[in-house]
Symmetry: C2
């Protein structure tokens, strides 16, 4: 399957879109290969693109005042990922985007993307869907973690994303759970 075929499949799983319509704008999405640990966006830069992950894995994370990393989201294969707030507001990003593994992505510029959102109904719908899901994911994570201990949060993660501990370094899992890697290491013993 070519990169663009993979993207078309994604669109078709969410909305109606014929290959003919797709071919009119598919070239806005260009293939980009990224190395493990490579940064695609740094805190402070304005985000001017949206990314569709073909293979590999990205993470969006923030660095706190004392240098602690906090991972907001892991973008796996067949997901869009970007610094949404920076993309929407056009302001410097407060988060970094990094490839956790060697990855392949399709990149579309901000202007092209929003042009499509306004002119192609199916892309408009995809964008509405991205926004809704981003919001829902963010809310669920807050509420599901609220009032829970580190161990309970870990169990929640394992039940929702089994296998994540094998694929992603503990350091990053800890930063996703909002705990230090020391604590993660300790509570893993209690599982």
């Amino acid at each position: 399957m070519t990169p663009h075929e993979q993207l078309l499949s994604y669109f078709q799983s969410k909305t109606h879109l014929s290959p003919e319509e797709f071919s009119e704008f598919k070239d806005f999405f260009v293939l980009k290969k990224v190395k493990r640990n490579e940064l695609l966006l740094r805190e402070g830069e304005v985000c001017t693109f949206n990314l569709f992950v073909l293979s590999g894995l990205l993470r969006m994370y923030h660095i706190g005042p004392e240098g602690q990393e906090f991972t907001r989201y892991f973008a796996f294969e067949n997901k869009f990922g970007t610094s949404l707030t920076s993309l929407i507001e056009g302001m410097p990003s407060i988060e970094n985007i990094q490839a956790v593994e060697k990855s392949e992505v399709l990149k579309i510029s901000k202007v092209d993307f929003f042009k499509l959102v306004e002119t192609v109904p199916s892309v408009n719908l995809i964008y509405k869907n991205i926004l809704e899901q981003a919001y829902i994911t963010s809310q669920k994570r807050i509420y599901d973690f609220q009032g829970k201990t580190a161990l309970e949060r870990l169990k929640w993660l394992l039940s929702h994303q089994p296998g994540i501990l094998n694929r992603i370094p503990s350091r990053l899992v800890a930063s996703y759970l909002g705990i230090t890697s020391y604590t993660l290491s300790r509570i893993k013993a209690e599982l």
Copy 2:
């Protein structure tokens, strides 16, 4: 200013909308008066409406496993407020909606609202705006609170929403900051 005039002003502050266009759908929004502390939605119910706050103040909050309340959002005058995740997914809400003060709201049913989103371009735009802002607000709150002490979070709140401590009972401010009211009481002494 009548309730509908107030809503029209809000729309016009966000997008172009003539009084004539507005009058075609304004009756979908019906006035509702709510008493202090009255619940407009309970956890477990499916949310079937969107609310525009004319006067007063609503809060959206969740009750944790041990009964601790966690306030996600205060909807002040001239804001839309609802349980967005429940409205979008059509699933039981995980949050409650309560009037903090005696309030007046304009209520629109879910079906009418989404009908307008699909048929009236300016409402479509308002909805996109609501989603974007909901997401951005949620993210900023997470990142701004990340790695900060309770005292720092309180200072952040006071600088972003001065006067909130006078208008809203401490209990609720504490639940917004993610701390107990004991702790809030103690850190207020350190201001």
